[in-house]
C-alpha cells in the first residue's frame, strides 16, 4: 500500500462537497441518465465527491441509488451524462475499467469465500507469484492493511466463516483497498449488522476518510448517515433532490427530502408522539392511556 495522501481538513472537505467549493472534486457526475427500457432509473443526476470526504447517498427504495452506484462501478454504463475523475472525463464501461481508474465497490453481499481465510480472500484473483504462492509477502501486506484500518480480526489465517458480520465487512473493505483506489463505494455497509459491529464499520469509514479516500456510502439508516457523512446527497425518483451538509441538517429534513414532502408518515408519527408526550404531562394517567391508544391506531 502506497503512502496515503495528506489528510485534508474536515471543513475543507465538507465545503468542497457543496456547490462551488474551491478544490476540484475527485469525482464528479453531471447529467447522468439511465433507462431500462421504458423505465427511467436515473434522470439528469449530479454528484460530487472530494478526496477525504464521505458522501452518503440516500433515497427511498427505487430512488436510483443502486443504479447510480452501478454506473460508477461499471456494471451499467450510463446512457448519457459525463463522469469526470481527477479532472479528466472518463467512461466507465466495465467493472475492470472502474478498478483501473481507482473506483472500488463493496457490494452488499460482500462476495467473500467463506471457506478461504482472510489472506486468501484479500488476494483472491491477484495472488502474488502464481506458480509458487508468496504467502509470506501476502500475509505481511494483509497485516499491514488491516493494521492501518485498525481492524479487529482475530487472525488473518482464520476462514471467513469464523468471522462476524462486521469483521467480514472489514475484510471486504480491506480487499477493495488492495487496488489502491481513490474512491470507495459502500453499498449498505451497516445493513444487517448489530450495534457494536455497526460502530466498528463506522469507525472504519472514518479511517478511510482520514487516509484521504473519497467514500460514497449508500444507507437507509439516518443515524449512521449523520454519524459519519460529511455530505448527504438525496435521490428521489431517479433525480437529485438536494445535497445537504450532514452536520447542520436534521434527520427530519433528510427524511422530508427523501420522501419529497414535509408532511409524511415519518413526520406525522414524530408529531403524534410529541403531542402525546405533551398531553401526558398535563392530564391524568387514564386520559394519557387513551391518547396512546389513539396514536397506536
Amino acid at each position: 500500500m502506497s503512502s496515503s495522501p495528506p489528510t485534508p481538513a474536515r471543513s475543507a472537505a465538507a465545503d468542497a462537497g457543496k456547490a462551488g467549493g474551491t478544490p476540484a472534486p475527485l469525482l464528479s457526475l453531471r447529467g447522468i441518465s439511465k433507462s431500462f427500457g421504458a423505465v427511467a432509473a436515473l434522470t439528469d443526476v449530479d454528484l460530487d465527491v472530494s478526496a477525504g470526504e464521505v458522501v452518503a447517498l440516500v433515497g427511498d427504495n427505487g430512488a436510483g441509488k443502486s443504479t447510480l452506484v452501478k454506473t460508477l462501478s461499471g456494471v451499467h454504463p450510463p446512457d448519457s451524462g459525463t463522469i469526470t475523475f481527477e479532472s479528466r472525463e472518463v467512461s466507465v464501461t466495465s467493472p475492470a475499467a472502474a478498478q483501473q481508474l481507482g473506483i472500488a465497490t463493496v457490494f452488499q453481499d460482500l462476495a467473500l469465500c467463506e471457506n478461504l481465510n482472510v489472506i486468501e480472500n484479500l488476494f483472491l484473483g491477484r495472488e502474488l507469484r502464481g506458480l509458487r504462492l508468496d504467502d509470506v509477502a501476502m500475509e505481511v501486506r494483509s497485516r499491514e492493511l488491516l493494521q492501518q484500518l485498525s481492524a479487529k480480526i482475530p487472525s488473518v489465517r482464520v476462514p471467513i466463516a469464523g468471522l462476524s458480520g462486521g469483521q467480514r465487512q472489514t475484510v471486504a473493505i480491506a480487499r477493495s483497498l488492495l487496488g489502491d483506489p481513490k474512491i470507495i463505494i459502500l453499498d449498505e455497509p451497516t445493513a444487517a449488522l448489530g450495534v457494536a459491529q455497526t460502530a466498528e464499520v463506522l469507525n472504519l469509514i472514518e479511517r478511510l476518510r482520514e487516509r484521504g479516500h473519497g467514500v460514497i456510502m449508500i444507507s437507509h439508516n439516518m443515524a449512521d448517515v449523520k454519524a459519519v457523512a460529511d455530505t448527504v446527497a438525496v435521490l428521489r425518483l431517479g433525480r437529485n433532490n438536494g445535497v445537504f451538509d450532514a452536520a447542520t441538517t436534521s434527520a427530519e429534513e433528510l427524511v422530508a427530502a427523501i420522501t419529497g414532502a414535509t408532511d409524511n408518515e415519518v413526520t406525522r408519527r414524530a408529531r403524534r408522539s410529541a403531542g402525546t408526550a405533551a398531553t401526558a404531562a398535563t392530564t391524568t394517567d387514564k386520559e394519557s392511556a387513551d391518547k396512546e391508544g389513539d396514536a397506536d391506531e
Binding site: 469465500c113 471457506n115 478461504l116 484473483g125 491477484r126 504462492l133 488491516l146 493494521q147 482475530p154 466463516a161
Partner: protein
C-alpha cells in the same frame, strides 16, 4: 495445512499489531480448537476411522497386517485411488462426475484394443485413451458451461453412454487379455522399488520436508511473522522419516513398495502442491466456496470448471488403464460395479466436502485406504461382496453425515 504456529519470542516484537495471534502452546491449541469448532475437521476423522478399521480387521484375522497383505493392499488401491483423485477436483469446485467408472472402462478398452488388436505401441495406446478422456472432459465442460446443465445429469448421461461405448469397443469377445510380459502389466503387477532406492527416496523426502519447512519458516521469521519453530520442524521430519522407514522396511519383508504405488503418491503430491501453493488451486477452492465471489475477483470461472472436468476424466482414464494392467485384461466389467461409487466415496470419506470448496488431494489417498482396507479385510474373512457393499455403504453414510454436521457447525460458527 499441517503448519503449526509457534511464535518465537523474538518475532513477537515485530508484529505487535491488533491482528496478532496468541503465542506458544496456547496459540497452537487455540488455532486447532478454533478450526475444529469452525467445522474444519481436516483429516482427523478419517485417520481415526482407519485406526479403528485396522484394529478390528487385525483382531478378526491376524493376516491382515502382515507384510504380504499390506504390500498387496498398497497395490490394489491404486487404480480406484487415482480415479478418486480426479473426483476430488470435481468435488472441490462443487460439482460431481458420476461417469468415472464408465470412463475408466472405456479407457481400458481403447488401450487394450489399440495395443493388442491393432498392434500399437503400448504407450501410444495409453496416450490415445488418455487423449480421448481429455476430449470427453472438455465436451462435458462445454455442455456444463454453455447450457448450464447440472454436472450430475451430464455425467449420468455419460455413465450410460460410455458404458455402451466400452461394450462396443470391446466387441463380441467382451474381453481382451494384455500380454503378461508387456511393460504395462509388469508395472502394475511386478515392478517393485529396490530396497536401497526406497530407503534413499524416503531419506530424500524427509530431507526435502525439513528443507522446505526450514526455508519457509525462516522467510516468515525474517518478515516478522509467526513461524514453525525449528524444534517442531526437526521433530516432524524425524517422525516422517521414522514412519516411512518403518513402512518401507515392513513392506520389504515381502515384495516391497510397488512402482505403481509410488506413481500414485507422486500424483497426490503434485495435486496437493497445485491445490495449495498455486493461484490456480486457490481459484479452485474459491469457485467451490462461492462462485459469484470468484467471478467478481476476476477468476475465469468457466476455465476452472473446464479444468476440473478434464482433470477428472483424465485421471479416471489413467485409473482404468492401471486397473486393466493389474488384471492383465480389459473386459466388460472393467470400471463397472462398485468402482464408480468407491471412487466418489473415497474422496468423501477422505474429507472432501460434497458441497464444494473443502478437502484436498490427500483425501483420495486416505479415503481409498479406508475403502480398500474394508474390502481387503472382509475378503480375508471369506465374506463375499454382499458384506463389502453393506459395510462400505455404512462407512460412506457416516462420512457424509459427518460432512453435513461439520458444514452446519461452520454455518453457525460463521454467524457467531
Amino acid at each position: 495445512m499441517s503448519d503449526v504456529d509457534v511464535r518465537p519470542p523474538a518475532a513477537a516484537a515485530g508484529t505487535a499489531d491488533a491482528a496478532d495471534e496468541p503465542s506458544g502452546l496456547r496459540g497452537v491449541i487455540a488455532a486447532v480448537t478454533g478450526r475444529m469448532r469452525g467445522g474444519d475437521l481436516g483429516v482427523a476423522p478419517v485417520v481415526a476411522g482407519l485406526i479403528v478399521i485396522w484394529t478390528v480387521m487385525q483382531i478378526l484375522n491376524p493376516v491382515f497386517l502382515s507384510s504380504d497383505n499390506l504390500s498387496n493392499l498398497t497395490m490394489e488401491m491404486v487404480p480406484v485411488g487415482v480415479i478418486s483423485l480426479g473426483v476430488v477436483f470435481m468435488l472441490l469446485v462443487g460439482q460431481i462426475d458420476l461417469s468415472v467408472g464408465s470412463l475408466s472402462g472405456v479407457a481400458a478398452a481403447v488401450t487394450a484394443v489399440l495395443f493388442v488388436d491393432q498392434g500399437f505401441n503400448p504407450w501410444l495406446a495409453v496416450l490415445a485413451a488418455v487423449a480421448l478422456a481429455c476430449l470427453i472432459g472438455w465436451v462435458y465442460a462445454q455442455v456444463f458451461n454453455r447450457f448450464g446443465v447440472p454436472s450430475f445429469v451430464i455425467t449420468l448421461a455419460g455413465l450410460l453412454g460410455f458404458l455402451g461405448l466400452q461394450l462396443h469397443v470391446l466387441g463380441p469377445k467382451g474381453a481382451i487379455n494384455l500380454p503378461f510380459d508387456s511393460r504395462l502389466v509388469t508395472f502394475a503387477q511386478l515392478d517393485f522399488v529396490p530396497p536401497w532406492l526406497a530407503y534413499t527416496l524416503v531419506v530424500l523426502a524427509a530431507a526435502a520436508l525439513y528443507g522446505t519447512g526450514h526455508a519457509h519458516a525462516s522467510a516468515r521469521r525474517k518478515a516478522g511473522l509467526s513461524a514453525t519453530s525449528e524444534r517442531v520442524l526437526v521433530l516432524r521430519s524425524v517422525a516422517v522419516l521414522a514412519g516411512l522407514v518403518l513402512a518401507v522396511w515392513y513392506l520389504n519383508r515381502d515384495r516391497g513398495v510397488g512402482w505403481m504405488f509410488v506413481f500414485f503418491l507422486v500424483l497426490v503430491l503434485v495435486a496437493h502442491y497445485v491445490l495449495t501453493r498455486t493461484k490456480y488451486g486457490k481459484a479452485v477452492y474459491a469457485v467451490g466456496g462461492n462462485v459469484e465471489a470468484a467471478r467478481r475477483a476476476g477468476i475465469n470461472v468457466r476455465t476452472i470448471y473446464t479444468s476440473a472436468f478434464v482433470i477428472c476424466t483424465t485421471l479416471a482414464a489413467i485409473g482404468g488403464i492401471l486397473a486393466a494392467a493389474r488384471l492383465a485384461a480389459a473386459n466388460q466389467s472393467t470400471g463397472s460395479g462398485d468402482v464408480n461409487l468407491n471412487a466418489i466415496a473415497a474422496a468423501v470419506i477422505g474429507g472432501t466436502s460434497l458441497f464444494g470448496g473443502r478437502g484436498g488431494a490427500w483425501a483420495s489417498l486416505l479415503g481409498i485406504l479406508v475403502i480398500q482396507s474394508i474390502s481387503n479385510g472382509l475378503t480375508l474373512l471369506n465374506l463375499d461382496s454382499s458384506y463389502r457393499f453393506m459395510v462400505t455403504g455404512v462407512v460412506l453414510m457416516l462420512a457424509v453425515a459427518l460432512d453435513s454436521v461439520a458444514r452446519r457447525s461452520r454455518a453457525s460458527a460463521g454467524r457467531a
